[in-house]
């Protein structure tokens, strides 16, 4: 499966990754090679096989609906790039 420049640009946008114009060509080649490796999967017929998402057959553990965590907002926001009044600051989203 070969990826075109347009394919790479679309994937990069979905992944929110800025890729420079010069690098798109290189990524396109690298990703196409990786996908060629991955194509090997089609050698095996898996029509009657159940997918396996997790190594062990366990159910999600549940806990009682009681508050167990303390508010540590100040600690966590101490390392944020930009905060004000307990809010994380980002460029304006709505006009």
């Amino acid at each position: 499966m070969s990826l075109s420049k347009a394919d790479v640009e679309k994937i990069a946008h979905l992944a929110r990754l800025a890729i420079s114009e010069q690098d798109i060509e290189l990524y396109s080649r690298n990703l196409s090679n990786i996908l060629a490796l991955v194509e090997e999967m089609n050698k095996v017929d898996t029509s009657n096989v159940l997918p396996m998402a997790h190594p062990l057959d366990t159910a999600q553990r549940l806990r009682d609906d009681v508050v167990s965590e303390t508010n540590q907002r100040d600690t966590f926001q101490a390392i944020a790039p930009q905060v004000d009044c307990g809010l994380y600051l980002v460029p304006k989203v709505l006009e």
Partner: protein, 484 residues
């Protein structure tokens, strides 16, 4: 003191032959003198280590010491350490001071161990050579032109060079076992769910496991006693009892049934490595084991399967790095999308971006069934091969790596060439079974590792199998020239 095993260090501390303070200072001095040749450490936590050593000495004086109280260790820089930089080998987290500690770290701290520092690694655990780190490559102490393996290359180099008696690593596709093999160490990837992943920066959540890297199976067993066990903070942690991993080390191997997968001895395996592995297997026969050829018919699809599953999971896990709440933020973002794209584009290295993009593609609309779902079905077939094999054998063995350590820069041009380094280790992560690598010889100056693959939660048996080999041989006692 830097040549002593964990058991000897523990005994020496309790017998007051030396203090934890002296031991810690000795290691810190060695690191200051020798690490510039290796670049194994990203952060040396000198002040914090000396404080921990002081507290450990007080505990020892009051006879309140645990088995490894006062013993130094290095933590792979993927484990969050409260108040200490946790970089994950990336520019994205180059200045990230973790606000909490991983459970693995907390258990080591509670046991009274002394953290010397955080070790270098492939960026976000993606790599097999420790060449993708933002902080520069790590060198193999056995040959400074060679890679130490990855992604736990810093931990491997540190322990091999005696800059720490033990270190933690993590393993998603081989990242404990392969560097252990390339650096003459004993490394264990526990069964999925055996060791808590809380605070361990996630790469691929259904594959990641943390584990010890040390110079002997006995040392690994002592470390497992500290870090293994159920953790309610990790929703994938398994609540089964933890044995004393040191208790069964000396059981006889008479009658042990070893399976050798024919698929692991085919094309791609270096012939000199194969010879060393076959000699190791003969040694096991002398210890009373019976060897039988088995087949893991779907194992050849491990690499393609992994390179869908792992990137898909990583694309999800790394979406949290967005320049908003922590980590790298680009300069002067013009809008929110620009903030995300440039923070991530500038903060992540090329390999990380490649894997995020493969993962994004595999999970995207129209491709999910063809890639991710297909990979999950192959994963079931690969796991079933192991389950079937364990009906006939007790342990499966083979080479850990198809080659010894390769030279720096040798495999960096084509990602796929690098990916094939993991050809023997990956199936173990897909199945979730435990796997170890132990030293069994050399090709020239470069070490060779034998991989031991066990049934679910059979770590104690693997450690016994490794320990008995180490009683009959001395490969694991070798030291690299200049670091003895």
């Amino acid at each position: 003191m830097h040549t002593l095993s964990l058991a000897e260090l523990s005994a020496g501390l309790k017998a007051k032959k030396f203090s934890s303070g002296e031991l810690t200072r000795a290691y810190l001095q060695r690191i200051a003198k020798l690490d510039k040749q290796l670049n194994a450490y990203v952060t040396v936590a000198e002040e914090r280590a000396l404080k921990q050593a002081h507290a450990a000495d007080a505990r020892i004086a009051k006879s309140q010491a645990a088995a490894l109280t006062g013993v130094p260790l290095a933590q792979k820089d993927i484990f969050c350490t409260n108040g200490v930089k946790t970089t994950c080998g990336s520019k994205m987290l180059a200045n990230f001071i973790a606000p909490y500690s991983a459970t693995v770290v907390q258990r080591c701290d509670d046991a009274g161990m002394v953290m010397l520092g955080k070790t270098n690694m492939d960026e976000f655990a993606m790599g097999s050579s420790n060449e993708t780190s933002y902080f520069g490559p790590v060198r193999n102490p056995y040959d400074l032109n060679a890679v130490p393996g990855g992604s736990s290359g810093g931990s491997a180099a540190a322990v091999a060079a005696r800059l720490a008696p033990v270190a933690t690593g993590t393993d998603t596709g081989g990242s404990i076992r392969q560097p252990a093999a390339l650096c003459n160490l004993t490394g264990l990837k526990p069964t999925y769910g055996r060791v808590s992943r809380y605070g361990m920066i996630a790469f691929a959540s259904s594959l990641d496991q943390g584990g010890p890297m040390a110079r002997s199976a006995e040392d690994v067993a002592l470390m497992m006693n500290v870090i293994a066990g159920f953790d309610s903070k990790d929703s994938t942690s398994v609540d089964t009892p933890v044995p004393d991993y040191t208790a069964g080390l000396t059981k006889s191997l008479a009658g042990l049934r070893i399976g050798i997968p024919k698929e692991f001895f085919g094309q791609g395996l270096d012939s000199k490595v194969e010879q060393v592995i076959r000699d190791a297997l003969k040694q096991y026969e002398q210890l009373g084991a019976k060897i039988k050829e088995i087949s893991l018919p779907n194992s050849g699809l491990s690499v393609p399967t992994y390179y869908v599953v792992a990137p898909a999971e990583c694309s999800s896990n790394l979406s949290r790095f967005d320049g908003v709440r922590y980590g790298y933020r680009c300069e002067q973002p013009v809008d929110l999308v620009d903030l995300y794209k440039r923070s991530r584009g500038e903060g992540f290295g090329a390999e990380v971006k490649r894997r995020i993009m493969i993962g994004t593609y595999a999970l995207s609309s129209g491709y999910y069934d063809a890639y991710y779902l297909k990979a999950q079905k192959l994963r079931r077939l690969i796991s079933d091969d192991f389950k079937n094999a364990y009906k006939e054998v007790d342990v499966i063995m083979g080479p850990t790596s198809p080659t010894v350590a390769f030279n720096l820069g040798e495999k960096t041009d084509d990602p796929v060439t690098m990916y094939l380094s993991d050809i023997y280790t990956i199936a173990v992560n897909l199945a979730g079974i435990p796997g170890m690598s132990i030293p069994v010889g050399f090709v020239g100056q470069r070490p060779v590792g034998l991989q031991l693959m066990g049934n679910y939660f059979d770590e104690a048996r693997l450690l016994n199998i490794a320990h008995q080999y180490q009683q009959a041989t001395d490969w694991h006692l070798r030291a690299p020239k200049g670091f003895e």
